[in-house]
């Protein structure tokens, strides 16, 4: 066996791996959008004056946080049809990752809300600002500096966890690398290649995060 990597094999399987990378990016972007939006809604609902609403939100977060993402994906993909929910692998992956991530984003945003002194909210109420205006003009602008770093972190976690989608046959990066490994019986080339691709993807997200953080900390 010669030492060193089989560059011909890498060249041959390049397109497959890049196609997997594209699926990973697509899935993660969509799942992140769901996770951030649903997470924000949950965090706002957590501030509700109704105990039942708060209890529902807390229950959702607690349950999701105690389940491995793989179990959630299995429930949706293999268990779904029993609840007349038949979806293809990729939508299951997007929804699973999205609603899974939402629980974590809910906690990040909740911490952000708690960091705003309640007196500022009372002053806003006394000059007649509506709850929506208070959220948009008083709370969110001050929260941005606090929530961007942990949010970027959570997106990175989401990207890494997307590798698990390979187990429910979504043709993302890890799945395609596994396919390459099965076909060539090589293990080093495929997994080293995707390690580098994951690293590049996550490095790009980190850089974007730093850029956003600087823009948001102008106060």
């Amino acid at each position: 066996m010669t030492a060193g990597l089989d560059m011909d094999m890498l060249a041959h399987y390049g397109p497959l791996l890049l196609s997997g990378l594209w699926v990973t990016i697509r899935v993660c972007v969509l799942a992140s959008c769901i996770a951030v939006t649903v997470g924000l809604v949950l965090a706002v609902l957590f501030l509700s004056r109704y105990g039942l609403v708060r209890w529902l939100v807390t229950s959702y977060v607690e349950i999701i946080r105690s389940l491995p993402i793989l179990v959630i994906l299995f429930l949706l993909y293999y268990g779904g049809p029993s609840f007349s929910l038949t979806l293809e692998a990729e939508p299951v992956g997007v929804l699973g990752l999205g609603f899974y991530g939402a629980a974590y984003f809910a906690e990040i945003f909740r911490a952000g809300f708690l960091a705003i002194p309640p007196g500022q909210i009372e002053a806003a109420q006394m000059v007649g600002l509506s709850r929506a205006h208070i959220l948009r003009r008083i709370q969110l602008p001050q929260m941005m500096g606090l929530i961007v770093p942990p949010s970027v972190n959570q997106v990175i976690v989401l990207v890494k966890e997307s590798a698990v989608l390979s187990i429910i046959t979504v043709p993302e990066l890890t799945k395609n690398a596994t396919q390459m490994a099965n076909e060539t019986f090589a293990v080093v080339e495929p997994y080293l290649a995707i390690a580098i691709l994951y690293w590049l993807l996550i490095e790009a997200i980190s850089r974007l995060g730093i850029f956003i953080e600087r823009r948001v900390r102008h106060v």
């Binding site: 009372e122 109420q125 000059v127 001050q142």
Partner: protein, 256 residues
């Protein structure tokens, strides 16, 4: 019609009754000071009048309208946000810890309510805002952020912010308690001018000098009840209740 009418107000936190049946009227252009030891419920009373605390029993009427609740088929239910803001719009409030919004300038703080919820155009809002800042002596600080202001300046901006929506009653919750002694005077001066202009004011304070010289009426509270009330001159020179005498003695001892 009285600007504020409070009838048999009861407020509980958990099992503890913090307000045990408070009744009072505040007249047009009256300056009413509320004094008392900590834990007496004076801040809770003010906050209940503003409906920042949900009171449990009794009535708070602002210009004759019930605040915080709605009568529906003989039963009382919690009013919604719009109704509360509507009744509350004739109130302005100033807080002990200023509660300015740190990500906006002084002018931004003052004009925010005008621009956002009263739909006043930016130029007009800034004109009104600048006039309010001028009124409290801070026109040249319009572009400063709160972090750069002293405590007294922050509180004066807070007063300007409350005045911008043209309230008919101003509530002050220990407005100078968080200030260094040298900065108290500038805030009291603004409050004195407001009173002279005929603003109806309810002030929870430890500043006996202000109460003595500016208030028409002083209320002494202890353990959730009004123990004594009357003109400041009488209350301070000849207190009837032992509790008030004790309270004034501790104040006198600290002032010598």
């Amino acid at each position: 019609m009285h600007p504020i009418v409070v009838r048999d107000l009861v407020k509980r936190f958990g099992g503890v009754e913090v307000l045990r049946g408070i009744s009072l009227d505040v007249g047009q252009s009256e300056v009413l000071c509320v004094i008392g030891p900590s834990g007496s419920g004076k801040s809770t009373l003010l906050r209940s009048i503003a409906f920042l605390e949900v009171y449990d029993e009794g009535d708070v009427l602002i210009e004759g309208r019930l605040l915080g609740y709605r009568e529906k088929g003989g039963k009382r239910i919690l009013a919604n946000e719009r109704e509360i803001n509507d009744v509350r719009s004739s109130l302005g409030m100033v807080f002990q810890h200023f509660n300015l919004w740190p990500h906006m300038t002084a002018l931004g703080n003052v004009t925010e309510a005008l621009r956002v919820s009263r739909n006043v155009k930016r130029d007009e809002a800034e004109e009104i805002g600048t006039a309010m800042l001028r009124k409290v002596g801070l026109e040249s600080f319009a572009g400063q952020y709160p972090a750069r202001l002293s405590g007294g300046q922050k509180q004066r901006v807070a007063i300007a912010r409350a005045l911008a929506i043209k309230p008919r009653v101003m509530l002050f919750d220990e407005p100078t308690s968080a200030l260094d002694p040298e900065l108290v005077g500038e805030v009291l001066a603004v409050m004195r001018d407001l009173a002279a202009e005929g603003m109806t004011m309810v002030v929870v304070t430890h500043e006996m000098g202000f109460a003595a010289h500016v208030a028409q009426r002083v209320i002494f509270m202890d353990k959730g009840r009004i123990v004594e009330e009357g003109a400041p001159r009488e209350l301070f020179s000849s207190p009837r209740s032992e509790r008030l005498q004790q309270f004034l003695n501790t104040w006198r001892e600290r002032s010598i």
